[in-house]
């Protein structure tokens, strides 16, 4: 899985009917060294109620269809968790809400 930051949302009325009612969020990859945004934004489907500014975990490929909400749906990036904190090499590198 990868971590990303939610920076916005997409509205699409003319879309595949299987995507009906799905929340389409814009995420940008996070560099795990600095926890800064790195790379270009992409569209994800939210299954856990993520909001703008939150660091999330997402999964791609066919596994993006492994959640109940995205089974057999034309999705290749699904948000499967909102990150509270991250420890790497014994150091806390991220804490949700901490400035």
């Amino acid at each position: 899985m990868q971590l990303a930051k939610i920076i916005g949302s997409v509205v699409s009325t003319r879309k595949c009917d299987r995507l009906e009612g799905m929340k389409l969020l814009v995420a940008i990859p996070i560099d795990m060294d600095t926890f800064e945004e790195k790379g270009s934004p992409f569209v994800t489907v939210d299954t856990v109620g993520a909001g703008e500014g939150e660091i999330v975990m997402w999964c791609g490929g066919s596994s993006s269809r492994a959640t109940e909400m995205t089974t057999n749906k034309p999705v290749d990036a699904t948000i499967i968790g909102i990150v509270d904190n991250v420890d790497i090499l014994g150091k806390r590198v991220f804490t949700k809400g901490a400035l």
Binding site: I7, K15, C16, V26, V43, S62, P74
Partner: protein
């Protein structure tokens, strides 16, 4: 899912039986934070009636065959939505309704 601008199409009469009736569009990736089109081209099967100039999103790999109409195609990238608007960091950064000339890359003489 990738976001891109439909900038053209592909016609292939001699093609796999599994692509019959597939509408093949050229999509150039767009960086949503700058709305700039990249020199990165994909041939994608259209599943929602997208046309040249539309900002679209699509799914890759096995997810590109996850709708009743696109299941039949030998595709690894399929367009599944035409984008109406995008909000980034609390600001509307793209609005299809307000876009006067989405095909501004075409020289005026050709339009």
């Amino acid at each position: 899912m990738i976001v891109g601008r439909v900038t053209g199409n592909v016609v292939s009469s001699n093609k796999s039986e599994k692509l019959r009736n597939a509408k093949l569009l050229i999509v150039q990736t767009v960086d949503l934070s700058t709305m700039e089109m990249k020199e990165d081209y994909q041939v994608m099967v259209d599943d929602v009636g997208a046309g040249v100039g539309d900002l679209v999103f699509g799914a890759y790999g096995s997810s590109s065959r996850q709708s009743d109409t696109s299941r039949q195609f030998a595709s690894d990238y399929t367009i599944y939505g035409i984008i109406d608007s995008v909000d980034l960091r609390g600001r509307r950064t793209y609005d299809k309704a307000e876009e006067e000339n989405p095909c501004n890359w075409q020289k005026s003489s050709e339009v």
